[in-house]
């Protein structure tokens, strides 16, 4: 046995996936000390105690077994009631909901259940980093759709029509958006729904930030005429209840789609963590006030960070949802990668280059405001000093 290269064992689709730009940046960040970071994409709040307590209690009571594949029926009923109460969506807990390991697994399930080799998936960018690689892994062809700052990074009908083809199988709808904070209005959604209905495509609507909107209530594309039957709604508890580490998400989809997604879930995952599900029952039942409390805090931080960034001289749209701002970087000849690297080295402030979220994010950067007010002010002071020295 000579000259055996283990790399020859690997799947080409996997090896072809480029390492995420954001990961590279975080690795660099990990080597540095005393950095004021605005990089983290998860709440700074701890999971509210009553939710943690419910998880602990379930362990004490010995509830340490697998749940049913699609999740505790008790939990699915709570999800169903919660969606009805908060967003007016109606899904059958028996046949239309799967509890997943975070929103990411839910997205993966949807792609794998819907895509045939060569099917195209339209992905509005800038967006969360997982869609493109997951589409490739599912055998699909990602078709990026670069959104423009001039449109508030919102999706409009003409942009959409320009990329939809007869091969388009899925439109990903990542709103409220990470990293831009953009939300779609009812008017936007009406026109998106029209284009999708005409095309015969499906929608994977990633609504993980649905609770975190500051101007108006989130509306799901699934609530538009003719859309429920072609939409997989991705939901989760991580952002709204500050439960990222519990790893829980879910899909809402018509029974026929749910049944097929459940096949993948049951063989690959078996079931989502039992302890987390018991904790989340409590969250869904008694956690509405927690959501409001955290949202009020994000709201004031958003206003503060946008105002301070504008004072520092950066163009910055007022984000309508999630907990990120996405300012335009000055025309300094530097790529967003280089800008963020220099900011990190020279001022020990970490923000994420916009290019990590797709090529249309080039020239921008993502700042998370899931941080305390003092921390945000300190970071923006560093950015301001950096800009002045440019």
């Amino acid at each position: 046995m000579v000259n055996f290269d283990p790399a020859s064992l690997l799947n080409k689709t996997v090896t072809d996936i480029r390492p995420s730009g954001i990961r590279k940046f975080f690795d660099l960040l990990g080597t540095m000390k005393n950095v004021t970071a605005l990089t983290v994409g998860q709440p700074d709040f701890e999971t509210p105690w009553h939710i943690r307590d419910a998880g602990i209690r379930s362990l004490e009571e010995g509830r340490t077994y697998y749940t049913s594949n699609n999740g505790l029926i008790e939990f699915r009923r709570e999800i169903s009631a919660y969606q009805e109460r908060r967003f007016g969506l109606s899904y059958d807990p028996e046949k239309e909901i799967i509890v997943t390991v975070g929103g990411s697994e839910a997205i993966d399930l949807a792609f794998r259940a819907l895509l045939n080799p060569g099917d195209e998936v339209v992905i509005p960018e800038p967006c969360f980093v997982c869609y493109e690689p997951l589409v490739r892994l599912a055998g699909g062809v990602p078709v990026p759709l670069g959104l423009k700052a001039g449109n508030g990074f919102r999706l409009n009908e003409s942009d959409l029509r320009a990329v939809m083809t007869s091969k388009t199988k899925i439109l990903v709808l990542p709103f409220p958006n990470n990293p831009t904070g953009a939300c779609l209005s009812e008017e936007d959604l009406t026109s998106v729904a029209r284009v999708v209905r005409e095309s015969g495509a499906a929608v994977v609507s990633d609504e993980i930030y649905a609770e975190l909107t500051y101007e108006r209530k989130h509306v799901s594309i699934a609530s538009f005429p003719g859309m429920r039957e072609r939409t997989v709604v991705i939901g989760g508890f991580s952002k709204s209840y500050a439960t990222t580490g519990w790893r829980l998400g879910y899909t809402l989809a018509p029974a026929i789609l749910t049944k097929e997604m459940a096949k993948i879930h049951q063989y690959a995952i078996m079931c989502a963590p039992t302890t987390s599900q018991y904790a989340a029952v409590e969250a869904a039942r008694n956690g509405d006030a927690d959501i409001e409390r955290m949202k009020e805090e994000y709201f004031v931080r958003r206003n503060l960070i946008v105002s301070r960034l504008r004072e520092a001289g950066l163009e910055c749209l007022m984000p309508e949802g999630a907990f990120y701002v996405f300012p335009k970087l000055p025309d300094s000849g530097m790529s967003s990668d280089r800008f963020c690297e220099r900011l990190l080295y020279e001022r020990q402030v970490a923000i994420v280059p916009g290019s990590a979220f797709g090529s249309s994010g080039e020239g921008f950067a993502r700042l998370s405001y899931a941080y305390g007010v003092r921390h945000i002010e300190k970071a923006v002071d560093g950015i301001k000093a950096f800009l002045e020295a440019l």
């Binding site: 998860q42 009020e296 002010e377």
Partner: protein, 164 residues
């Protein structure tokens, strides 16, 4: 946001961080600075905001300090109930807080002194001898874990993983 909502929100922010200045609060709520100043002035004027102070963990310092919770049984006065005696007791700087209680005793006080002996003497000489006080019970605080929503000795480093 109504004026009442703004007031409540501003109070909550100040309760968490009293150093937030009106300019910053105005930016945070997206309202004119004058509105914030008016809310604060009103709250200061009508006693809604009583004071602004730092929450100090004295155990981190060299200062000698002990604290005790004192249960008092008293005889209420005609017409004035427990108010008169509570008012008198509250005059002492050693008394940091005073509450009228339901249950087995009437007043609960927190009393501070440099040593346990100081506190014990204060109770024996000043409180126990006061007219209307029928009994006292002193419980010394051994360790403060949480006060005014602040958990003492809590690790506040950011433990979030660097994940998107």
């Amino acid at each position: 946001m109504t004026k009442e909502q703004l007031k409540e929100q501003v109070l909550r922010q100040l309760e968490a961080d009293a150093r937030l200045d009106p300019g910053t609060l105005a930016v945070m709520f997206g309202v004119p600075e004058d509105d914030i100043r008016a809310v604060i002035a009103e709250c200061e004027g009508d006693g809604t905001i009583l004071t602004y102070m730092a929450k100090v963990n004295w155990e981190k310092t060299e200062r000698k300090m002990v604290r005790a919770i004192i249960e008092l049984k008293t005889v209420p006065q005609r017409d004035r109930g427990f108010g008169a005696i509570a008012e008198r007791i509250s005059q002492y700087p050693e008394v940091k807080s005073a509450y009228l209680m339901s249950g087995g005793y009437d007043l609960a006080l927190t009393v501070e002194g440099e040593t346990m002996r100081d506190v014990a003497l204060f109770v024996a000489e000043k409180l126990a001898t006061m007219e209307g006080v029928t009994s006292t019970a002193t419980h010394f605080v051994l360790q403060t874990y949480k006060e005014d929503e602040i958990v003492f000795e809590k690790d506040t480093t950011d433990k979030r993983g660097n994940t998107w």
